[in-house]
Point group: C2
Chain length 135, copies 2
């Protein structure tokens, strides 16, 4: 059983056949698929799963903290399994490839900035857009 299914159980999220297939597809994804792409992947396992169910499921998973939603440039929401350790993203503007990275120093500074402005940091979004340096 994959981690997403485990989290569903521990959080009391009912596991249907469709949700299991979607959970497995998400677990197997190392990229950050949008709903349409995810729908294609689950349909390879079960052709009858509708896109409405995929939409409802990723929303449910997101609200349960099981997956994370990202609104990168491009108009469509993209999802990834919630990681153990928070990370941010660098998006290759040419290929669309997404590279994950962790930078504690930036995280610290973000907290400091918020604090200085009189706020408690609740959430943040950091996206870098870049082009590959050829060497």
């Amino acid at each position: 059983m994959n981690k997403i299914e485990e989290k569903c159980i521990s959080k009391g999220v009912r596991l249907t056949d469709q949700r299991k297939v979607i959970a497995e597809a998400m677990s197997a994804s190392t990229d950050h698929p949008d709903v349409d792409e995810l729908h294609k992947r689950v349909n390879k396992v079960d052709k009858k799963i509708s896109i409405a169910t995929v939409y409802r499921t990723v929303k449910l998973f997101e609200e349960s903290g099981i997956v994370e939603k990202h609104d990168f440039k491009g108009g469509k929401a993209r999802y990834e399994e919630s990681p153990d350790e928070h990370h941010d993203h660098l998006i290759d503007i040419n290929s669309g490839e997404i590279i994950e990275f962790v930078d504690k120093e930036i995280e610290n500074l973000q907290n400091k900035v918020a604090e200085k402005l009189g706020y408690k940091l609740v959430d943040h979004k950091l996206e870098l857009y870049g082009s590959k340096i050829k060497k």
Copy 2:
């Protein structure tokens, strides 16, 4: 004449009556209005300007580098006049208020991170979401 109109002229963007009104409304805005809100403000000056024109104009201005588009949480794009000096945003999750800030140190680190990953930083998005600390 406001800065947006000046930039239109210097960039060869044709200035119609409607665009002048929209330019003035944007110039006068200290918040980050969405298209609907901008349309309302523009309509106080000229009731006949359609929302399609507002959409077309902010898109044109954005593509010309005259205004900046932001996709904060909430689904609708929001706009501000392009600032002289780059800044990022902290969004009050309770009131929706937006506070602008500059942090050179974070900017530097972003460049370093991108470089370390083999990328040249072209663009970035940093949004902090926080709640006011009551004192």
